[in-house]
């Protein structure tokens, strides 16, 4: 139980560091740590497959891609021009309002049952596979189309235009 709170504290800490770090590379590395804490949360929830996929897809692929792009662009200016303090305060207030609304809504529902593992095998590959390829077969196929079109789009966007360049 205390593990959850410790990890949750770490997640929030690293998440705050992500948006407050001056150097974007540091931001990404903090984001890696944040996602790592999420992986631990998944393991605590016994969602093994989600945990490992989070590990591979987010930490292993998406964030490496971010880091790659950032290094490719290689902004030598150490810090981007920050927004004015007024905007920052307004933004924090706005985000805080959102949080307050969500928490208030949560308070109104008043549900606070502990999370029980009704089915210990829930997060295992076999179980998830059966649901994914049975109930959600069509969305699965459509998501593959989405990925394909995203790939084509990315290649098209990132290729240098030979006519103008």
């Amino acid at each position: 139980m205390s593990i959850f709170y410790f990890i949750a504290f770490l997640s929030i800490l690293f998440a705050v560091l992500v948006i407050s770090a001056k150097n974007p590379v540091h931001s990404i590395l903090y984001l890696v740590l944040t996602f790592f804490t999420f992986t631990i949360q998944y393991i605590l929830l016994n969602a093994q497959f989600v945990a490992i996929v989070n590990f591979i897809v987010y930490m292993g692929a998406i964030l490496v891609l971010f880091l790659y792009t950032l290094m490719l662009i290689n902004l030598n200016k150490n810090s981007e021009p920050m927004k004015t303090n007024l905007v920052k305060i307004a933004a924090v207030l706005g985000g805080g309002c959102l949080l307050v609304v969500v928490v208030a809504a949560l308070k109104a529902t008043g549900a606070s049952d502990p999370v029980l593992f009704k089915d210990p095998n829930l997060g295992l590959v076999k179980n998830l596979g059966k649901v994914l390829f049975d109930e959600f077969l069509l969305p699965f196929e459509i998501s593959s189309l989405l990925l394909l079109s995203a790939m084509v789009g990315a290649v098209l966007l990132a290729t240098k235009d030979t006519k103008t360049a």
């Binding site: 292993g60 490496v64 880091l67 790659y68 290094m71």
Partner: protein
């Protein structure tokens, strides 16, 4: 978990850790010796008989060298880089089954640190994490060559990870499980997966070369173009960590290949041997067989290094995206057809 099992696990962790470090140390020696034999030379032969103490001398040298941290580097990340590299290299061996269950007293113990049921994906995740050490170190050095090395490492690893994952998927269609323990157990006797997935293995080993940054795909540290690549600015034991990480990676990927495709601890005639030697010796023989296979793979890595010249970077990317990925998909389709019609 009871204490007996816990102790066995702890002992196993320590032993595997030590073994992988010793193997990494002696891989440097083996690399130099084997390179020498391939080039009709002798190799290191001064420290101890036939140079057997060379790794110790190298280690002492590494420790005694001056430790330089460049002034304009990002100091914390500069230290984190090599540490992360060696850490990700070491944790990969946690899910590999090193042998059959061994009987101590009246109880059976697994020769595996932990059997998680997504073991194969775990290895895959660790491999994909390995690039962070290189990228952080390369970026933190604040050096063009290091940065270029880091960028190359990132794009190379991402590209080849896809082909590697696809080749593993074809294997999974055959084995029906992600647990390495079960995959190893399935290949009893001579029913090795290489017989069922020869093509997938070729794809896998090519990707393994790319993922461990070994020649012909060692573009991130390509000294003819990038001075030293991502570890240009490194010296002393931090450089040693990077080099060590490469050899541990080689050991772990050899172990993974042996486990996935080459029958792990299984060998033809193992039942006969087990019948004659009993429940303690037989698993140990299996472990020895596994290690023999791993050493063969390490030898193969070195053999290829001293034979094949480095690819050009665009050739590397072409091979990854236009060659291996379509082939891996074709392999998946072929495996699917084979399973549908012949099983």
């Amino acid at each position: 978990m009871e204490t007996g099992e816990l102790i066995v696990r702890l002992v196993l962790i320590v032993v595997i850790f030590l073994i992988s470090l010793v193997i990494a140390m002696y891989s440097t020696y083996a690399e130099r010796k084997i390179a020498a034999f391939f080039q009709d030379r002798v190799g290191p032969n001064r420290a101890g008989p036939a140079g057997i103490l060379q790794p110790l001398a190298d280690g002492a040298k590494m420790f005694l060298k001056e430790e330089i941290i460049p002034t304009n580097s990002s100091k914390f990340l500069f230290i984190v880089g090599p540490s992360l590299a060696i850490m990700t290299a070491c944790i990969g061996s946690a899910v590999i089954p090193w042998g059959q269950q061994i009987q101590i007293g009246s109880k059976l113990y697994d020769l595996q640190v932990t059997d998680i049921n997504v073991g194969l994906l775990y290895i895959f995740g660790v491999v994909s994490l390995g690039v962070y050490g290189i990228m952080i170190g390369g970026w933190a050095s604040n050096n063009k060559y290091s940065l270029l090395g880091a960028i190359r490492a990132a794009s190379q690893n991402i590209s080849y990870e896809i082909a590697m994952g696809l080749s593993i998927i074809a294997l999974l269609m055959v084995t029906n499980t992600l647990s390495l323990k079960e995959i190893a157990a399935q290949q009893h006797g001579w029913h090795w997966n290489i017989l069922r997935q020869p093509f997938g293995f070729i794809l896998f080993i090519v990707c393994a070369f790319a993922e461990t940054n070994r020649t012909p795909f060692d573009l991130p540290e390509c000294e003819t173009e990038l001075v030293g690549g991502y570890h240009t600015e490194y010296s002393s034991m931090k450089l040693g960590f990077y080099l060590f990480a490469e050899y541990i990676n080689m050991f772990v990927s050899g172990a993974v290949m042996a486990t996935l495709y080459w029958g792990s601890y299984n060998y033809p005639g193992m039942d006969w041997v087990a019948g004659h030697t009993g429940p303690v010796i037989a698993p140990l023989i299996g472990t020895v067989v596994l290690f023999a296979k791993i050493f063969l793979f390490i030898f193969f890595f070195m053999w290829v290094r001293w034979t094949i010249p480095r690819f050009r970077y665009d050739q590397l990317m072409d091979l990854g995206w236009k060659g291996l990925i379509p082939l891996a998909i074709a392999n998946i389709i072929g495996t699917g057809l084979w399973i549908t019609f012949f099983k």
